[in-house]
């Protein structure tokens, strides 16, 4: 049974007491309702009791691998999952995103950064519930239903590949889409190693959509991981 509350509930799965304390304090102060689980067993139980709107998960839990829990969760729930990870482990970040996590936050992080990610993930989850939404941020308008892209009111002409890439990103504003996910869905699984295709076509998209391509406002790069389209 879902506990009713006007404040969005967030499940924090973190075994370090000091960290979970500051996360839950800052979430409370920002108007969310945090629930803390210190291991995966509690997290599984609490998740189905509380039915949170978002889960924040530290990967290194004492009783198992957080990635397995994400994969398990994804079979039954679309609730956004924000992963806390060490800054060095790009491979792990990619593995988490590929198995269904929505975003990651590198430790150590500031509260403002965490709250921004939480807001983005919640907004995206709300948008996903509306089918064929319209991405409309700072003059860039991508109408997923109509299949049109306009920049400051002017229609932007895109090649089919650029269009597919942009749609893939615009369907999940703010979410990192890994290179693997983009290559598989745009070119096909046999093109997984052809990352230069991505670089070249993303470069062309930036040239068409960004005022200064080397300082992009919309098409953001997470080095070694993937791309995301700015959520706001």
């Amino acid at each position: 049974m879902k506990i009713l509350s006007e404040r969005p509930s967030i499940l924090v799965v973190e075994d370090d007491r000091e960290i979970s304390r500051f996360i839950s304090s800052s979430l409370s102060a920002a108007g969310y309702l945090p629930y803390v689980a210190a291991n995966l067993v509690d997290a599984r139980k609490l998740f189905w009791e509380v039915r949170p709107e978002l889960a924040i998960l530290d990967l290194g839990m004492p009783d198992g691998d957080g990635k397995d829990w994400i994969a398990e969760l994804r079979q039954r729930s679309d609730v956004p999952v924000l992963v806390l990870s060490a800054r060095q482990s790009e491979k792990e970040k990619v593995a988490c995103l590929d198995c269904g996590a929505d975003d990651y936050l590198a430790k150590p992080f500031g509260v403002e950064e965490m709250l921004a990610r939480v807001r983005t993930a919640l907004r995206r989850a709300a948008m996903m519930s509306l089918r064929d939404h319209v991405y409309d941020v700072s003059g860039l308008r991508i109408d997923l239903a109509a299949g049109t892209v306009t920049l400051n009111g002017k229609l932007v002409k895109l090649t089919p590949i650029e269009y597919k890439l942009l749609m893939m990103l615009a369907q999940h504003p703010g979410k990192v889409i890994t290179y693997r996910q983009l290559l598989t869905s745009v070119w096909g699984a046999e093109y997984l190693d052809e990352t230069h295709y991505l670089r070249i076509h993303m470069g062309r998209l930036r040239a068409k959509l960004e005022a200064v391509p080397a300082e992009p406002r919309f098409l953001l790069t997470d080095p070694g991981i993937g791309y995301r389209i700015a959520a706001s």
């Binding site: 300082e215 790069t221 080095p223």
Partner: protein, 482 residues
């Protein structure tokens, strides 16, 4: 057959041919036999010819009797000449065969030298050498190496698989004494195989084992020649590996020194500041104004961020130290994306006018590790921010320098002494006079540059300030990539 042919021919022309011609005809048959069928057959042919001439052509004909003593002399002369000629033919044939063998061996040895020269891995080299020697000798061939731990030898490779039996005693004796064992050698000549050492090496040397050896001196010499080539190539590859190991150890030492220097300075200073600020707040909060409390909290956050960054750099160095280039993920990267990603990381804590990008649209892709390169660029920006002054922004960008991509950070600060070069970084780090963390950050940039085989340039800018650049090796044309 040849004798019958010679007899028939001589019989047919007997009326016209004299004894000399008939003898010559038979001599021809003997030479032909010697050439085609060998020495022994030629001797039989000579005796047969002797009897045939006697029987068919010497008076009285069709008996073995010889009436004339001169004919005896002629017949014996024929026999002698036949035997001598057969011997000469045999010797000529032997010489030709030896010359052909020598040419073939020399050709094979040259090919072997070429094949081995292209290899730089010990295992691959031994395998190739073993295969080639097996090819040359047509005998089961193996190479045994002294075990790293414990006593004895173990077969590193063998051709064909499972055909070589290794006698530990023979291998040990051969390796310890640096002498060959087997047929045709002075040691254990009754032994059924050749066991030969890889020349004189410090400690126990590897040994070559060739089964079913023969005592033929030419074969033994040939085999020794091939083994000498293999041993020389093996020594070269081992020296190459030792040189690489030495270089790696030197790199690790330089990284360790950078780590020690940074821990003492980069970590201790911010920790002191944080501890000071927190204890002040805990002990004297009531005595402090809200503004003062806010300042202390801000300084704690700033120092903690700095500490986070320094920790990241130290972890990177440790990681690079332990793994070297193994953890570097080289892939095609866009300089525009790297610059964009690094700038956006700094945008949250710097003012817009403090930094700008400069990347030409047609800059080619580079082979790089995106994460390491972002970190290198981030470190350069951190350093630039700590010394930059004036109204001009710091420029983070990429450009082409003689077809090579350079990523750079330009500032207007006085962060580096005049004529400072990248080679002076370690000295600079010890000096520690230009703000905290510059040395560690630069050391990492230097390591990252080296892992990318990129050049690391520190250049003084006209009008003051520094341009720090990573200049990558020339890449294949971007058009080829599509």
């Amino acid at each position: 057959m040849l004798l019958i042919a010679a007899t028939t021919l001589a019989g047919f022309f007997v009326a016209r041919l004299g004894t000399t011609e008939i003898v010559m005809l038979y001599l021809l048959a003997v030479i032909a036999t010697s050439y085609f069928l060998g020495y022994l057959a030629a001797i039989f042919a000579a005796i047969g010819s002797f009897l045939a001439i006697n029987f068919f052509f010497i008076e009285p004909r069709y008996t073995f009797e010889v009436a004339n003593p001169e004919s005896w002399a002629a017949l014996l002369g024929f026999l002698t000449v036949s035997v001598v000629v057969a011997s000469l033919v045999k010797r000529l044939q032997n010489q030709t065969r030896q010359a052909e063998n020598a040419r073939r061996h020399a050709e094979f040895a040259r090919e072997m030298a070429e094949n081995l020269a292209a290899l730089h891995d010990e295992g691959e080299l031994l395998d190739a050498g073993c295969r080639l020697i097996h090819h040359a000798t047509s005998q089961p061939t193996g190479i045994a190496l002294p075990r790293m731990k414990g006593e004895g030898f173990s077969l590193a490779c063998q051709y064909p698989a499972g055909t070589v039996t290794l006698d530990q005693r023979a291998a040990k004796w051969c390796s310890q004494n640096g002498q060959a064992i087997g047929p045709g050698s002075n040691n254990w000549p009754e032994y059924g195989a050749w066991v030969m050492p890889f020349g004189r090496m410090p400690g126990l040397s590897p040994v070559l084992v060739v089964m079913n050896g023969t005592a033929e001196q030419g074969e033994v010499t040939y085999l020794r020649g091939l083994l000498d080539q293999l041993a020389t190539a093996y020594q070269r590859v081992r020296n190459e590996r030792r040189a690489k190991d030495a270089e790696r150890i030197a790199q690790e030492e330089s990284i360790q020194n950078a780590l020690l220097a940074s821990v003492s300075h980069d970590m201790r200073t911010p920790l002191t500041a944080i501890l000071g600020a927190t204890t002040t707040l805990l002990e004297q909060r009531k005595a402090l104004s809200e503004i003062e409390q806010g300042r202390l909290l801000q300084s704690m956050a700033a120092e903690a961020r700095y500490l986070a960054n320094a920790t990241e750099n130290i972890l990177s160095l440790t990681k690079l130290e332990s793994s070297g280039s193994r953890d570097v993920v080289l892939d095609w990267q866009s300089p525009e994306e790297i610059v964009g990603a690094v700038l956006s990381r700094f945008r949250t804590r710097t003012l817009v006018h403090e930094m700008r990008s400069s990347v030409p649209q047609d800059i080619p892709l580079i082979r790089a590790d995106a994460v390491l390169l972002s970190q290198a660029l981030g470190n350069l920006i951190d350093n630039a921010l700590s010394v930059h002054h004036g109204s001009e922004p710091i420029i983070v960008g990429a450009e082409l320098r003689d077809s090579r991509v350079a990523l750079y950070v330009k500032d207007r600060g006085g962060g580096f002494p005049q004529n400072f070069r990248a080679e002076d970084i370690r000295k600079f780090q010890r000096m520690n006079v230009h703000g905290k963390g510059m040395g560690l950050g630069l050391s990492i940039v230097q390591v990252i540059a080296r892992l990318h085989k990129a050049e690391f340039h520190i250049e003084q800018r006209e009008g003051g300030g520094t341009c720090v650049a990573l200049v990558f090796q020339e890449m294949p044309s971007g058009e080829n990539l599509e």
